[in-house]
């Protein structure tokens, strides 16, 4: 979840290999999705950073006032729905939007939720190819560490790094 501070900082939870990083991002007029997809910057600037190991995700093991987060290896971030969309993008479809259940795996995590797709029938390949950004917004998402599936992280939206997705399942599970 995020919180708006007087200085324009928002707090987010970021998940990288083995760690949960809670920190503030100065988004100004952009969304965090914009910032993650900004190809001109490889790192995301974080302030007031609180780091936990995924094995004990509530225990804060270190805090720093500033940090840089490498964007290409970020697994996913938990964000409010408004922050999951690029501010410039306005998708319109005559066929409306479809909510498609998805289940995907990343290194150390599995994620369940929905993607919003436009068009008459959902085509995963087209969905991934037609997207301009690197991060897929999974709404009503729940992420679970594979080593501790009883622990879950959820939020309005999970911005998942498409490059880190190993398996992308769509539709309802057959069993």
């Amino acid at each position: 979840m995020a919180r708006q501070r007087a200085s324009g900082l928002l707090a987010f939870d970021f998940f990288i290999r083995g760690y949960r990083v809670s920190g503030h991002v100065s988004t100004h007029t952009r969304s965090v999705a914009d910032m993650l997809d900004d190809a001109l910057h490889s790192y995301l600037e974080l302030q007031d950073v609180y780091i936990s190991r995924i094995s004990q995700p509530a225990d804060i093991i270190a805090t720093y006032s500033h940090a840089k987060l490498r964007k290409d290896t970020l697994l996913f971030a938990i964000v409010p729905i408004r922050e999951s969309l690029a501010k410039a993008v306005r998708s319109v479809s005559y066929f409306g939007k479809e909510r498609v259940p998805v289940w995907l795996t990343l290194p150390m995590f599995e994620i369940e939720g929905e993607v919003q797709a436009t068009g008459m029938s959902f085509d995963l390949e087209a969905f991934l190819a037609e997207r301009s950004g690197q991060y897929v917004a999974i709404t009503d998402g729940v992420a679970r560490p594979t080593s501790a599936p009883d622990t879950s992280f959820s939020g309005e939206a999970l911005l998942v790094n498409q490059r880190c997705i190993d398996l992308f399942c769509t539709g309802k599970p057959s069993s």
Partner: protein, 392 residues
């Protein structure tokens, strides 16, 4: 006027919460980081502290732990208000000693209501807390069952049947139902097992108990009780053999004089400390499960109790299913156990979680089937023991 301390590094949030609390008639103190918050809490001793987690100099969990560890601030209500709002964070907050967990962004009116509810609960608990010690001459030990309150002892035939878990949750259920303080006496072989289960760190368990039963009085006993949330007062098991079993027996007797009900966790063995207390109990709950080795040991425990002269009619069984699938049906269990089965507690997957988080099931998930079964067991025992709710 009640004092509320807000510790948050976000000035905007501080201002908003301060305004809402002042409108509700509270005096508000503000600290911008954990260190200042600690100093301010020690100086002003607020009734409730609202703590952020992500703060410079000291994070909210650490501040919460320090407030709980300091006698000047230990009784304050604590609300964790944080943007780290995952279920695991709530568990961490509770483990650190918080009373409530509120995720940001919070609705101000709801936050104020939570503060009011916390203050109300604190007043209620204070009214139900053990009475102040009185000066009374030491008396000779006497049978506990005749000395006032009822004593219910939980005993398992072997380790790992969930005796401590049941005793804790049963005591919590009684405290909630009776709206009264309930003492839980740890007679278990492993020192500190109840405290460890609840994640309570207590130095010198029963160290203040005198080595002679004649010297033990309510004045020396009361400080040994460790207060836990929701009216639970724990008498930990002694860490030293210096405390003779007769002193523990006397301590339980004194508790029975002060409280309508005392729950004892007798662990899994009849030993020098637990046996005198067990023999004085109004009721022994034999906590068992359908596992073959447990059933085998159960007959030995029953025989041992009867050898000691404990009436069989006061022994009732509680089947605590610790596995999703049971070896035997209820009917088969009835024939094997030979004592009436008072309750069957269904398998609860979250129980492993409660062990990890050191938070009782009843507090963590009061609506689970297992919690409901413990609630029903409480009602059955209350009826059987003719217990009544506290007035008011």
């Amino acid at each position: 006027m009640k004092r509320i301390l807000i510790v948050d590094d976000d000035p905007e949030i501080c201002k908003l919460v301060e305004f809402a609390l002042q409108q509700a008639g509270f005096a508000v103190l503000i600290a911008e980081d954990g260190q200042k918050g600690l100093a301010m809490a020690r100086e002003h001793q607020p009734d409730v502290a609202i703590l952020d987690v992500m703060m410079p100099s000291m994070h909210g969990y650490e501040l919460c732990r320090r407030l709980r560890a300091d006698p000047r601030t230990a009784e304050a209500g604590i609300i964790i208000l944080t943007a780290r709002s995952q279920p695991i964070d709530e568990q961490a907050a509770m483990k650190a000693g918080a009373d409530l967990f509120v995720a940001k962004p919070a609705v101000l009116s709801e936050l104020v209501e939570r503060v009011q509810a916390l203050l109300y609960e604190a007043e209620r608990k204070a009214a139900a807390s053990p009475p102040r010690p009185e000066s009374r001459p030491a008396t000779k030990p006497e049978p506990i069952a005749k000395s006032g309150g009822r004593l219910v002892a939980c005993l398992g035939p072997v380790p790992g049947t969930g005796v401590t878990t049941l005793a804790i949750n049963l005591a919590l259920a009684f405290a909630a139902w009776q709206r009264n303080a309930i003492p839980l006496v740890d007679l278990g072989g492993a020192p500190g097992s109840v405290l460890e289960s609840l994640g309570i760190v207590s130095e010198g368990q029963q160290r203040g108990l005198s080595s002679s039963e004649g010297e033990l009085s309510w004045e020396t006993l009361a400080p040994q009780l460790v207060a836990y949330h929701a009216g639970l007062h724990i008498l930990p098991s002694p860490t030293t053999e210096r405390v003779p079993p007769a002193v523990t027996h006397k301590a339980v007797s004194l508790l029975c004089k002060r409280f309508p009900l005392v729950i004892a966790d007798a662990g899994h063995s009849l030993n020098a400390r637990s046996t005198p207390v067990l023999l004085s109990a109004n009721l022994i709950l034999l906590v068992t499960n359908p596992e073959a080795h447990v059933m085998q040991a159960l007959s030995g425990t029953l025989a041992a109790l009867q050898e000691q002269g404990y009436p069989a009619r006061r022994i009732l069984a509680v089947v605590n299913n610790l596995e999703p699938k049971t070896r035997a049906s209820l009917e088969e269990l009835r024939s094997e156990i030979t004592r009436p089965i008072l309750s069957v507690i269904p398998y609860e997957p979250a129980i492993k979680y409660t062990q990890h988080t050191q938070r009782p099931l009843l507090a963590m998930n009061p609506r689970s089937p297992a919690s409901r079964a413990i609630g029903q067991l409480t009602m059955q025992l209350a009826r059987g023991l003719h217990l009544e709710k506290a007035a008011g």
